[in-house]
């Protein structure tokens, strides 16, 4: 996890996969608790958020302990972390919006578990990828490329095969899944990405640890507002009893610590890549759910749901897993980044920063003092496309006199 040790590409994939591993683990724990201990998703959800929130603040205080000058312990997880601090300005608004969106999806998830079986609903959360892809289509700078659409489709087909169980969804479940559940997830991802990418001011607080804790705070507040009116007096007293139950508290602390790490890695990855791609790679949790369920069922029979053992199901699961891996590999090897160095004609009375930034695929434009006048960093998915972009867009700008390209073959970055 050290900041500059790993090449950027491996770091991105590693963060996504780690996030997937941790989320597979905490989902398995949720299923175990609901199946064996307390079969009431509403109470469990309420307890999880509040105990999780309190413990996450403890975690944040631990991660704020300085280990070296200006370097708190949390820099191990995110090198931009500088201690627990409430973000201000726009990032705070994005975090509140993310918390509200997450409360919609979490709330509908609880409703869904009332009427249906959680194991058949959970993989459907991957539908969010389709929403994100569509959203990116309309957001000019992040238009998905053909390679991305193809590999993401491969991953989605894989997820479908891995999780296909033959059970059917009713109309209300289907509507809830299509609507608030996945829409909430999509907006959560979108607002977190906006907060993470916010760099307009110096010293802005938008490291993944602070984003996680504060969005969790707002999620818990909104969720409480939605849940409390649905509680019967009986449920309220049960909630109070379980709040002081040692096993429950310890269980939730472990569960929510896993969730904490899962989201911190997820948010870091969001700062490095497109939303749809981060979500596609974290789909690996659907595959990882299989060993977790198998080991869990071996230790506590029946506590982790039923796994079909016929040859057909296993062939589908194996093929599906293979497709998910293939999609991830293609996504990771097709990424290209290039520096374009630009000299302008003199006299040049025009500021080209905005013009250059508006070109698709341009990640960052710097006006510099030196031999060159502008340094443009481009991120795109094939060499031919970089060439096209250069010829068509940049050469058409009349103020430019000279262009040099340097393709990045390996990159290490502190994000």
């Amino acid at each position: 996890m050290l900041s500059l040790r790993l090449p950027q590409r491996s770091k991105f994939i590693l963060l996504c996969v780690l996030s997937g591993v941790f989320s597979a683990a905490f989902v398995a724990m949720d299923v175990y608790y609901l199946n064996t201990y307390l079969n009431d998703p509403l109470i469990y959800g309420f307890l999880t958020e509040w105990i999780g929130l309190l413990f996450s603040f403890v975690l944040m205080l631990i991660f704020s302990i300085p280990i070296r000058k200006d370097k708190p312990l949390g820099t191990i997880l995110d090198p931009t972390f500088r201690g627990l601090a409430l973000p201000r300005g726009k990032p705070l608004l994005y975090i509140i919006a993310a918390g509200l969106s997450a409360s919609f999806s979490t709330f509908s998830y609880f409703i869904l578990t009332f009427v249906g079986d959680p194991s058949s609903i959970l993989p459907l959360s991957r539908l969010v990828i389709v929403y994100l892809l569509v959203a990116e289509l309309f957001y000019e700078k992040d238009t998905p490329t053909l390679v991305e659409v193809v590999s993401i489709s491969i991953i989605l087909i894989g997820v479908f095969f891995v999780s296909f169980s033959g059970s059917s969804l009713g109309i209300i479940e289907a509507l809830l899944t299509l609507g608030p559940y996945n829409m909430g997830l999509a907006f959560y991802t979108y607002f977190q990405k906006l907060a993470r990418d916010y760099r307009e001011k110096e010293n802005v607080v938008n490291d993944s640890l602070n984003l996680r804790i504060w969005s969790l705070l707002f999620l818990t507040i909104f969720l409480t507002i939605f849940t409390i009116p649905l509680f019967t007096p009986e449920q309220l007293s049960i909630t109070l009893i379980y709040f002081f139950d040692t096993f429950t508290v310890i269980f939730i602390i472990i569960d929510m610590s896993l969730a904490f790490f899962s989201y911190v890695f997820y948010l870091r990855a969001l700062g490095m890549g497109k939303m749809s791609i981060v979500n596609s790679i974290t789909s690996i949790s659907v595959i990882l759910g299989i060993p977790f369920t198998l080991i869990g069922n071996f230790l506590f029979p029946g506590a982790f749901g039923v796994i079909p053992l016929d040859a057909y199901s296993w062939t589908a699961k194996a093929l599906g897993s293979l497709l998910v891996f293939e999609g991830i590999v293609v996504l990771s090897v097709s990424q290209e980044k290039t520096f374009i160095l630009i000299k302008v004609k003199y006299p040049c009375g025009k500021d080209l920063l905005g013009t250059l930034k508006s070109i698709k695929g341009v990640e960052r434009v710097s006006a510099v003092a030196g031999v060159y006048d502008y340094i443009v960093k481009v991120k795109i998915r094939s060499v031919a496309k970089v060439y096209n972009l250069l010829v068509q867009k940049i050469e058409k700008i009349p103020e430019i006199s000279e262009i040099t390209t340097m393709t990045i073959v390996k990159e290490h970055e502190k994000i």
Binding site: L4, K337, G370, V409
Partner: protein, 80 residues
């Protein structure tokens, strides 16, 4: 105070790339290191608090690395 960002283009002697890269990774001020094809071999992005510190980092840390043939520094004036 507002930090200063700069790109430093580095030319490396043949066969020295891995060595130079490993030394650069230990520079605290480095924000990103990219190995590139084309005119230069490495593009280093650094964050410093002042021009004085930029001078110190380039003279004391970067120029002392064996295998670096040539560097070209561009200070970033504005960025979006």
């Amino acid at each position: 105070m507002k930090p200063i960002y700069a790109y430093i283009f580095i030319k490396v002697a043949i066969g020295q790339l891995e060595n130079v890269l490993n030394r650069l990774k230990n520079i605290e001020e480095a924000e990103s290191i990219a190995v590139t094809t084309g005119e230069y071999d490495i593009v280093l992005r650094i964050k410093v608090s002042s021009l004085e510190e930029l001078y110190r980092v380039t003279i004391e840390k970067i120029h002392k690395i064996d295998g670096i043939v040539n560097t070209l520094t561009h200070i970033i004036e504005k960025e979006i």
